[in-house]
């Protein structure tokens, strides 16, 4: 039956032979994952369920992870001296996405709210710096906090109407907001120069030292990403972080335990959007030219993929997700057309078999009731 239906619906698109294969695959897939008998037949054993290798290692008391960040940090500082310029620039871009993914992790991972137009805050941060710099000649390091504030304010403004309602509405409102921002940037010619974008954004300098070299950007973007990870790591373990996770697991129970749900959600949105604003400012100064087409819905989805595939709620997960999703397609040139198809499938499968992502958060329960 499944074979028939899946085959039939895909024939018009890919022809008989491939459709037959796809149908066969679908039938086997349904058979293998049939959950009528308590557990999926095959996949659960393959996928290791919820106990992960990492969790198993964590159980050994002598093997603490406390030294790991320093080792990783040292390795990453060495990268620009080992790899060539092109590779270094790709990794720099990946760092910007790490910052974005960490920011989105506040909203999606820690607080359990789905925000879809996340790239709008990135765009706002980028345009804030671009305008401040081209109109008033403001230095990047002065503009960075301003970009964070404008991004964060936008986050608060968007979520104010949506947060009072059922969780899923936030997804739609942010999605709509992302579109509004893009369309406005495209059409407000007098301010944003429309589809042409803003050109001639200055590269940063600190106390007269020019930072516009690939190495400078590597350190700048890497530093921001490291800072974002550090802050999130501390916050997630604090009272605030526990409150967010309580809201994610059960909003009603959290409210009854005295957590100010609305305020905490707002805080998560503001922080997430602020980091996006900071990443946007760095992006604008690195590109020296920004236009609305850098901030499409696809980018939002890409960042969401990083968080979901990496591991919602854990700090390392989104970071590794971001590095992976930027660097792996670079390594696999030639099949990059299939990139988004693979990401989409992975998102669906992750939800079914490994809801915690690659590196699951230690406190994530698999049933997050409140979106």
């Amino acid at each position: 039956m499944v074979l028939l239906i899946v085959g039939l619906i895909s024939v018009p698109f890919i022809g008989w032979w491939k459709a037959l294969l796809l149908g066969l695959f679908g039938a086997i897939y349904i058979w293998a994952t049939e959950t009528e008998h308590k557990k999926p037949r095959l996949i659960s054993t393959l996928m290791l369920g919820r106990t992960t290798l990492l969790n198993r290692i964590r159980q050994y008391p002598s093997f603490h992870f406390s030294f790991l960040p320093y080792v990783v940090f040292a390795l990453f500082v060495l990268i620009p001296f080992v790899f060539n310029r092109y590779q270094t620039e790709i990794i720099t871009l990946a760092y910007i996405y790490v910052t974005l993914a960490i920011g989105l992790n506040y909203i999606v991972g820690l607080c359990g709210m789905l925000a879809l137009g996340y790239i709008a805050f990135y765009a706002i941060g980028a345009y804030t710096y671009a305008l401040l710099n081209t109109q008033f000649g403001v230095n990047l390091f002065v503009a960075l906090p301003i970009s964070m504030v404008t991004g964060g304010l936008a986050g608060v403004l968007v979520s104010l109407p949506a947060l009072r309602l059922r969780g899923d509405y936030l997804a739609i409102v942010t999605l709509g907001f992302g579109e509004i921002v893009r369309i406005v940037l495209n059409n407000w010619d007098s301010l944003t120069a429309g589809p042409n974008g803003i050109m001639g954004i200055a590269r940063p300098s600190l106390f007269g030292v020019k930072m516009g070299t690939p190495l400078g950007y590597y350190l700048l973007a890497g530093g921001l990403a490291a800072l974002a990870m550090f802050v999130q790591n501390r916050l997630a373990k604090s009272r605030t972080g526990r409150a967010w996770e309580a809201i994610r697991e059960d909003q009603l129970a959290a409210a009854h335990s005295g957590i100010p749900v609305f305020r905490m959600k707002l805080l998560a949105m503001a922080l997430g959007a602020a980091w996006a604003g900071a990443a946007g400012a760095i992006f604008a100064s690195r590109q020296t030219h920004i236009s609305p087409e850098s901030f499409t819905f696809l980018e939002s989805v890409l960042v969401l993929c990083m968080v979901v595939l990496g591991g919602m709620g854990s700090v390392w997960g989104p970071a590794i997700g971001a590095l992976g999703l930027i660097i792996i397609p670079e390594l696999l040139r030639g099949v990059e057309l299939y990139r988004m198809l693979a990401f989409g499938l992975l998102m669906v499968w992750m939800m079914q078999f490994r809801r915690g992502g690659l590196i699951p958060s230690m406190r994530l329960k698999t049933s997050s009731r409140v979106a």
Partner: protein, 299 residues
Amino acid sequence: MFLQQLINGLTIGCVYALIALGYTMVYGILELINFAHGEVYMLGAYLGVIGFGLWQALAWGGGPTVTIIFLILFAAVLAALWGISIERFAYRPLRKAGRLSPLISALGISIVLQNFVMLSKGAREEVFPDLLAGKGIDIAGAHISPVQMMIFLTSILMMAGLTILVKKTRIGTAMRATAQDRVMAQLCGIDVNQVIALTFAIGSGLAGVAGVLVASHYQMINFYIGYQAGLKAFTAAVLGGIGNIPGAMLGGLILGLIEAFGAGYISSEYKDVYAFVILIVFLVFRPGGILGERVVEKV
């Protein structure tokens, strides 16, 4: 000018209403925003083009009316099957998994479908055949093309059929019961899985029809039309009160009118913004929509 914008608005509004019905029916039963629904509409448009090729290969003859009826049926049936498959693969395994997971899964499916069509049919725009090339009617300076008439007629038939199905038949009763209380419906002997699959089939079938209708109106389709149409149809569903079937129809028509008049009288560059601004305004002041009741969070 006024009358022309009214007609244009109603035309596009009918299409939004057809898509919004799918959102609202699925939301009514599963409380899930089916992000992939817009893509099913896009599939419907492509199925229209493919069906036309098939029809010509079969060479059974018949006038343009017969052809268009065949295209609509072809797209509706296949889109319905797509809907059932999506539900089976992406949503049914997650039915007990809470809110966030099915939403992300839906987003994943939407990306998969977009890229599936892009890879199999190419990223270029496809031309939809101009089937109903007639003169149309002129009323008081406004022009109604044959395609627009077809859109009105088909949508009204579809909506009437759906209303009868939901209100008068046994299947419709089972659907309403499942929407009200899934566990209780199960206890009363309703096969809930079947009802949900049927809901997806009907919703997707309507979206497929909408795809053919829009494609024959604009005569240009590509693989990313589903995203924006889906977003607007969802706005229409919220506007009318999500979960409410007459509400979705009303919301679609109102949204179409707002867009047409906004584009005609204010600025056409910001045409796509109106829908979202209205969505946000409604969420602030009347989240239940025009015909909806207050949403109470279920524990």
